[in-house]
């Protein structure tokens, strides 16, 4: 079985994120890492291959040169190869352009299953997997809290607000997995060393036959008009409980007409 896992390199959520002058995410100013939620995708792909006893895993990312770090991190957890779509023309791409580029890259690769994270931890859109399934015309089994692959059948459990549903599809298929699927493994020292030797192929827009006008800031179909830092919340009152904390709190709630 051949699996492609999509991993994105994102500004660390714990760092002070901001916008650049062109209102794109300022990726230069902060530390970046593999999107934490994509580690769950890596983990699930590794488990599918381990259970099947065979299989090949390729990691795919689209992003600037240092996005290669996300591939190395994934490769240190396991898997076989990386593919990096990198081109200056991609700067400022929106979700539609990103999904177009990733779909074209996937068309050049061989796979039975594509595994995505549930959301990137910078944009939090959770739309790229659905867009990819739509573009590729394969079953989209998204937001899996649990994933199993047996033969050519993919089964997921999807936890909705009102119900938990079981969804079944056949390979080739695309899945996205949530952080409910279980913690991702830590790379071992051996894994980190091995990752350095695993092959990473790069593609440019020209390699994928994509017109540069269709992607990047110029090709974006939505535009950010302004970005304003929210003023910090005004400091509130903090009291220490001296046996009457609950009563004091009730008093505060009464003043606010909550009770």
């Amino acid at each position: 079985m051949k699996i492609v896992v999509l991993v994105k390199h994102v500004p660390d959520a714990a760092s002070d994120r901001s916008f650049a002058a062109d209102l794109t995410v300022d990726r230069a100013a902060v530390d970046s890492r593999i999107s934490e939620l994509d580690e769950y995708a890596v983990e699930q792909a590794l488990q599918v291959v381990e259970k099947a006893g065979e299989g090949e895993i390729t990691f795919l990312t689209m992003g600037p040169a240092d996005a290669g770090d996300a591939l190395r991190k994934a490769l240190s957890m396991g898997g076989d190869a990386g593919v990096h779509v990198v081109d200056d023309g991609l700067h400022g791409s929106d979700a539609l352009a990103t999904s177009l580029v990733l779909a074209e890259a996937l068309k050049k690769l061989e796979w039975d299953l594509v595994v995505c994270g549930m959301s990137s931890t910078d944009a939090w859109m959770s739309v790229v997997p659905a867009m990819l399934a739509e573009r590729l015309g394969v079953p989209g089994l998204t937001l899996a809290g649990e994933l199993t692959v047996e033969g050519t059948t993919v089964t997921i459990r999807r936890d909705g607000d009102d119900a938990s549903t079981t969804v079944v599809g056949s390979l080739p298929a695309l899945v996205s997995v949530t952080d409910q699927t279980g913690e991702a493994r830590y790379p071992s020292f051996k894994g980190i060393m091995a990752a350095k030797k695993k092959p990473v192929t790069t593609y440019t827009l020209a390699d994928l036959g994509i017109d540069a006008a269709a992607v990047g800031l110029g090709g974006a179909w939505s535009s950010v008009e302004s970005a304003t830092k929210r003023p910090p919340r005004a400091a509130g009152v903090v009291v220490t409980d001296e046996g009457d904390g609950g009563v004091k709190l009730a008093e505060f709630l009464a003043t606010g007409k909550f009770i």
């Binding site: 959520a13 994120r17 901001s18 916008f19 929106d94 979700a95 539609l96 999904s99 959301s119 939090w124 859109m125 959770s126 739309v127 790229v128 659905a130 867009m131 399934a133 739509e134 015309g137 394969v138 989209g140 998204t142 809290g145 909705g160 607000d161 119900a163 938990s164 549903t165 079981t166 969804v167 079944v168 599809g169 952080d179 409910q180 974006a220 179909w221 939505s222 535009s223 008009e225 970005a227 830092k229 929210r230 910090p232 919340r233 509130g236 009152v237 903090v238 220490t240 409980d241 046996g243 904390g245 609950g246 009563v247 709190l249 009730a250 505060f252 709630l253 606010g256 909550f258 009770i259």
Partner: protein, 317 residues
Amino acid sequence: MTEILVLVDHVDGAVRKPTLELLTIARRLGEPSAVFLGSGVANATETLGKYGAAKVYVVDAPEIDGFLVAPKAEALAAVAAQASPGAILVTAHSEGKEIAARVAVRLGSGIITDAVDVDANGVASQSVFAGSFLVTAKVTHGTPVIAVKPNAAAPEEAPAAAAVENVTVAFSDAAKGAKVTAVAPRAKSGRPELTEAAIVVSGGRGVGSTEGFAVIEALADSLGAAVGASRAATDAGWYPHAFQVGQTGKTVSPQLYIANGISGAIQHRAGMQTSKTIVAVNKDAEAPIFELVDYGVVGDLFAVVPQLTDEIGKRKA
């Protein structure tokens, strides 16, 4: 007037409140038409008309609920192809965003997700980077597809005809790839819906156990509130994942949020920091949640919370 499509979020025709918010927002942009997918429209037309839907397009086919998302997207795209709307609004929950994503690809349109407001010019506001920035954005290509968060507007009545128009859709094979084979409904708690509640009372790792949540539930019930939980509490299995507040759970924006035994990690804050009033009980005075609060109590939640619940009971009596 330009027609604006609003995708109806419903359970067997019972329309969810965020849809009424979308109809209200749609009136700023043009004339709202509701798009109702699945069965039960007879239960919905009155409400949809009351909140301004001139038309109600209905696609009632077994594919709608028999498969994941894709048929709904095809149905909405088919209605859009017929109506040539000025914009399409959907609720920004997980399914709504996926429908919006697929519709945007199908129509070749720009998409904005997680809008917290949309003005008359179609400019959407979004809260990003865990709520630290407010961004405005606009779709510049195609029919704007905008996924709007719950609580983005107060629903306003504006009676309209709600004329039902049935639409037949020929679903593609590709849309029938992810088949729903079992549905296990969740037990109802009887409390208000987490994302719609005016008051949310949450518990975190400090609650310590499943039994500990009884204290949180008692406070919630004394206030008519919904119960929420941090990921630490849901991961530990003390409370169901459906009630998790934060980046990989629900975003809530109630009038009052009470965090108990929650440290206030950035991923949790992202899901609650637009709450109007924030209260926290935590025994660690250094917990980051106190940076957000209007009122905080440094203390043991097992002492403070029951006392608060009692006091609320007394004041009500």
